[in-house]
Symmetry: C2
């Protein structure tokens, strides 16, 4: 039963409420057994029965629940660096798409990779995320868009799950866009999603969620509703890419269909905010995508004030968010979304767990929760997200095992 | 005479003109002798006389001139993480300053440190900057504001210069703000700068530049002009903090006094842009400070279009830019200032060298230049600044010596 001592600040995130309530305990200790937390509290209250246990040393640092990146597109082929420079030079997304760029180019590159190649790339990203303190990753398909490649992508996530590293939570995003080969047959593509892809995903138990990109350039509210109905009937809970480039009614739809989260939300309407709050849908903000698309940030403060639980994730993908650096997203949520460091931490731990329906097991450090945590080289959360560094994580622990960083033996 | 081979892209920055002209050579080789570049060009043109030399291996990566962070406040005491959270919560800079915060709190913390303690902190930052590929750092005083502490800060930079690591270029910023003890005697403080601090700095040869923060909350154009005149007479070239929070005529003054650079420029006027272009003053943008202060970015595109050489630096300091991550500043210059990756690289190498008056020796990889360069884990500059990572630098070489990163022996 290891005991972690000399924690300057332990953010337990014990409360399910309060965006800024991170349950911070100064001069704390943490005890776990196998893969579960046994005790968390002020060091002076540590029961004597734990004191003789295997002792680990936090070195006067901050300890947080392992970070949860609740929105990524982890497995994909190729990169789109040229488009990044082209967009800066003033070429529009539509121009680039017309020239064969955009999501379609990643679909081509992803279909061209076999399972081993796709796995090798995703494995490396996952390992680098772990080093940053990320212990759970939501990972979407959506660069296959045909039955075979969607299943291959999700199979990669299943195989990765069995390797030591961050936990994975898989989402089927067959409804990312209409693929080029179906450009003149939207109905046919939607039919294949509903009749072939989602049933096969559910049958093989390859995903927990069905996601739809609700946007003018992707799927309408009416189309999304049909896809969610089919998914829900198969046990796949709805998630949405909502109100990113325009207010397309995505957040309102999320509330209507009982989605676990609505993501992006740069253009969410006041009605959308009220709907999320009313329905208890997590609002997932993605500050890296907002930055790379040079957009104004989503109204995070208005969402928090309305009672929406706001999560923060990377959106890691090769087009609009080509970095898996969740602490960067968190710093940007502070500076651009005007969320305090405590609010952001809650949004990248407990509320991110809620956005993937795993709040009972991860995202907080309370007895019975999984022993997923990170040791951060800072005295507290304010200092960590203020003094941004390449990587301030000194150790990442998943299920009680130190998987990245330096040994913490006393 | 080492030879670096297998360079996928070598950005020589050989031309003094063209913001986006980085002199990129694909499939290149680089030869140096002692601390100077001997040859740079396409591998197929490598003279046979170099082929038998000591061979280093770039592994198909990008090689760039060592990064130059041409605006930092490297040595200071304390941190101001609490203010970061307070500002997000809505407290104004003036409220915080009235409560004893802001620059004044860093001045107190800096005065409280002895030279060894100040040196130890700056040494660690410098070492972490080197690991990011930074091989030259401009470092300002300005948290002493009295003769003793200004000299102590600059002495720290002189001592650091003698240790292996990035080169240092020192600037006296005694005119950062009027210190609290002189709040009712501005004229007295300015008199001490002119009659005591600048002469002592020049006498001990502790700095190359005299900087003034020209802003409503700091010094007026008229006050700054007097300080620059005194500095120039002592051989200290002018640099300015200009037009950051308001258009205070700083850029126009920079042109008038022949400053080597005008820095910040978020609020620069069209007249200011024209004046910088006309006078050949480098415009230094500081995207991290812009981000942390939640400002709109400076008009970098208008400056480039007008013919201003635009540099990019961190402004590393404990208040408004608490990170030394120059590649982060560079990525932000792409995403927020709409500069292409090539334009940004030129701004963090050759034009940054110009901003510290060292363009003949550093900032480009041409025969005769100092052998300061970095090996970046990316195939080219577009990919590097698009696929942002915690640290993509694999090796940093200063004066021909590998000082950070992994060995490159073939």
């Amino acid at each position: 039963m290891p005991l972690l001592e000399n924690i300057s600040c332990l953010a337990t995130c014990a409360s399910p409420d309060g965006q800024d309530d991170i349950g911070a305990i100064h001069d704390a200790a943490l005890v776990w057994k196998d893969d579960r937390i046994m005790w968390a509290g002020p060091a002076e209250d540590l029961p004597g029965s734990y004191v003789g246990e295997e002792r680990w040393e936090a070195g006067g640092r901050l300890v947080i629940p392992g970070l949860i990146d609740c929105h990524t597109h982890l497995a994909f082929g190729g990169w789109r660096a040229g488009e990044f420079a082209d967009r800066i030079r003033g070429r529009s997304y539509l121009e680039l798409a017309a020239a064969g760029g955009g999501i379609a180019s990643t679909v081509r590159a992803t279909r061209a990779l076999d399972e081993e190649a796709l796995l090798a790339r995703a494995r490396e990203f996952r390992s680098e995320m772990l080093a940053l303190g990320v212990t759970t990753i939501e990972a979407k398909s959506g660069y296959g868009l045909d039955l075979e490649t969607e299943l291959r992508t999700l199979e990669v996530y299943r195989r990765l799950s069995s390797e030591p590293g961050p936990r994975l939570s898989a989402t089927c995003l067959a409804a990312h866009v209409v693929p080029p080969e179906a450009a003149h047959d939207r109905a046919g593509h939607i039919g294949r999603i509903i009749e072939q892809i989602l049933p096969a995903v559910a049958d093989k138990n390859l995903a927990a969620f069905a996601d739809v990109f609700v946007e003018e350039s992707a799927f309408s509210v009416r189309e999304a509703r049909r896809i969610f109905e089919a998914g829900s009937a198969l046990g796949l809970r709805p998630k949405l890419h909502a109100d990113q480039l325009t207010d397309g009614g995505g957040a309102v739809l999320a509330a209507e269909v009982g989605a676990v989260s609505a993501d992006h939300l740069e253009c969410i309407s006041p009605e959308g905010i009220a709907a999320l709050a009313q329905a208890g849908v997590v609002g997932v903000t993605l500050p890296i995508a907002t930055l790379y698309l040079n957009q104004d940030p989503p109204p995070a403060r208005a969402m928090i004030d309305a009672g929406v639980a706001v999560a923060v994730a990377t959106d890691f993908n090769p087009g609009t968010a080509p970095t898996y650096h969740l602490p960067l997203a968190m710093m940007l949520a502070c500076t651009r979304q005007r969320m305090t460091p405590a609010e952001v931490l809650k949004g990248a731990t407990r509320f991110a767990a809620r956005a993937i329906d795993r709040e009972t097991e991860i995202g907080s450090l309370v007895p019975g929760a999984l022993a997923d945590f990170a040791v951060i080289d800072a005295p507290d959360v304010d200092h960590w997200l203020y003094h941004y560094r390449p990587n301030a994580c000194r150790a990442a622990i998943v299920g009680g095992e130190l998987l990245a960083g330096r040994p913490l033996r006393a």
